[in-house]
Amino acid sequence: MRTLTYAQALSEGLVQAMDRDPAIFVTGIAVDYPSGIFGTTVEAAQKFGPKRVFDSPAMENALTGICIGAAAMGKRPVMVHPRNDFMFLAFDQLINVAAKWSYMFNGRTGRMPLVVRAVIGKGWGQGATHSQSLQAPLAHFPGLSVVMPTFPEDAKGLTIAALQHDGPVIILEHRSLFGVTGPVSEDPTPTPIGKAKVVRSGRHVTIVATSFMAYEAVHAAEELARQGVEAEIIDLRSIRPLDEETILASVRKTGHLVVADTSWELCGVVSEVAALAAEKAFQYLKAPVKRIALANCPAPVSQKLEEVFYPKASTIARAALATLGYDPGNIGEIDRMDQFKGPY
């Protein structure tokens, strides 16, 4: 199978979906710039032109409502936020309208095929309001699907799936993954929404992770393997619906659980997964669950502070060793240098 970057896979998924469905259009700030949301909308803009890929004023609130209105009339809008943080301005529409569209009117208002793409920033001093990751607050609300592709094949597959879904789907894409390469099918094969993926099998410890932390977990697992620890990595892919069975099956097998997410701990995805294990697989757990999340403060800019703010592959590997009762000090320098220099 050929190899694509995550950004190329996002683009290909979008273009293939637009080819098949003339109701799809793309809007949001900068979607038709030559830089095209880090390359992911360039081909769509070239191929389908300004009637289907068009820029907008900075109006995240009303534009979300406008996309909802167009979706209600039969379109499939894709609204793009170059950073998650701007999506706070859209929460009224996302949560009070899109999430409740079907339920609150007993299914009588029709479908709500809205897709929202939002990019998570990380590092290079992007700071407190350009690096947040909104899966936990969004997934809290019944009615929204929230997905986080980690690998290129799912970047494409979840884009395709979202653009075939009848309800609102929010795709959180991680900027640090845009250059990551991997095999991607040429066909428009959807990745099922609500299904986690076991990306590496193992019998000693389960590592459930999201987005960039799942990518880091794979790196951590390679180091753990060198130390004789077989980690099972579950890439959650979908936050709502949550694939409880894949998580629980792994925990029942390994008895040890580490959870890693791109956001904070309190009321976060790591806590949700830990609670799930405590409630439904307690008797299988041989040690306390370890949660790995951002340091409990806003993201700082200074390089020295950033270094200690973000968890890394080594953080995951050490947590895995600790939960197994091994000395976590054995993990060497496995962390990759952060090469990110923009564009933002």
Binding site: F25, K51, S56, P57, M59, N61, A62, L63, T64, G65, I66, C67, I68, G69, A70, A71, A72, M73, G74, K75, P77, D92, Q93, N96, V97, W101, S102, Y103, M104, F105, N106, G107, R108, T109, G110, P142, G143
Partner: protein, 315 residues
């Protein structure tokens, strides 16, 4: 005469709610539109079945004026399965897609954005359908509405913004919310919309202005803003008159002056003056419509509850 009957149907429905609300059987916060009926009827009479409307928390008038059924509205308020939203939405969340009522919402400015998006879709499809959003002047205090006005003007979208200016947002007077001399039509014009202020209690004035607006929209000549001056008679939310609860944010005298300017009374007087109806005939119509409305409410109250097993349907 059809307009007058529509006004009566809406008035009877709202006043029947007011009378029965105190029974504690309609367990949903309800914002009655008594006194504002002419805006809804005048605008909706200018529309086709395939045009769509969006409304706010005081939405019964618009639901009914676009063709929604009294029985479905009453059922919704009683929380019954036969409600327009299956008893899930309540007073402020109504829909009737077949008649072009897409949805109504209690958050200010929210439905206006969705209406603007419907208009974007209509423009993309060609054709000449229009979208209408009703909102109170309180929504003009929200940022979202300006995003909408700007966007609609940039794209010349076929959307009609109908501002029902009833002078109060909840119980907050205009002078708390607008600088002296501020003019809502001027705000809309500054975004390059066509804007017009009209007497919202004059059904003919509303209808004529709406026809002008809708003609402009169908010709693709850009969005229109109508400011309809009107007044709600009863409290912000609930069945009472403010003076019955000793509220002082507006005087009983002011309310009574506006009740004198009742849109239905004016419509009836016009029909009599024009020789289209006698006072006795108007009374007969009103009684017949009240009887129909009463029957619809009685039937709604007897309608089945939603099955508990449906709790998770349509999540």
């Amino acid at each position: 005469m059809a307009l007058h009957r529509e006004l009566l149907r809406i008035r009877s429905s709202e006043e029947t709610i007011a009378a029965r609300y105190k029974d504690q059987e309609m367990r949903t916060p309800t914002h009655l539109g008594t006194g504002q009926e002419a805006v809804a009827v005048g605008v909706c009479q200018a529309l086709r079945l395939d045009d769509v409307v969006f409304s706010h928390h005081r939405c019964h008038n618009h639901f009914l004026a676009k063709g929604g059924s009294v029985f479905q509205l009453a059922s919704e308020l009683y929380g019954r399965a036969t409600g327009c939203s299956g008893g899930r939405g309540g007073s402020v969340h109504l829909t009737d897609r077949e008649r072009g009522v897409v949805f109504t919402s209690a958050i200010l400015g929210e439905a206006s954005a969705v209406a603007t998006g419907a208009a974007l879709s209509f423009q993309m499809d060609g054709g000449d359908r229009v979208a209408v959003t009703f909102f109170g002047e309180g929504s003009m205090d929200e940022g979202a509405i300006y995003e909408c006005l700007n966007y609609a003007a940039i794209k010349r979208l076929p959307v009609l913004y109908v501002c029902e200016n009833n002078l109060y947002a909840t119980e907050t007077r205009l002078d708390v919310r607008q600088a002296p001399g501020s003019d809502l039509c001027e705000r809309a014009r500054s975004f390059r919309l066509t804007a017009e202020r009209i007497d919202g209690n004059d059904i003919v004035a509303v209808l004529e202005a709406s026809q002008r607006a809708v003609d402009q929209l169908r010709r693709g000549e850009g969005p229109v803003f109508l400011e309809c001056m009107t007044y709600r008679w009863r409290e912000h939310v609930g069945p009472y008159f403010d003076h019955e609860l000793d509220r002082t944010y507006r005087s009983q005298q002011e309310v009574e002056e506006w009740i004198e300017r009742c849109p239905i009374k004016r419509s009836g007087e016009r029909l009599v003056q024009q020789g289209l109806a006698t006072r006795a005939e108007l009374d007969v119509w009103a009684e017949a419509i009240q009887a129909e409305v009463t029957t619809a409410f009685d039937q709604a109250r007897q309608a089945p509850w939603p099955e508990v097993s449906t709790l998770f349907d349509f999540v």
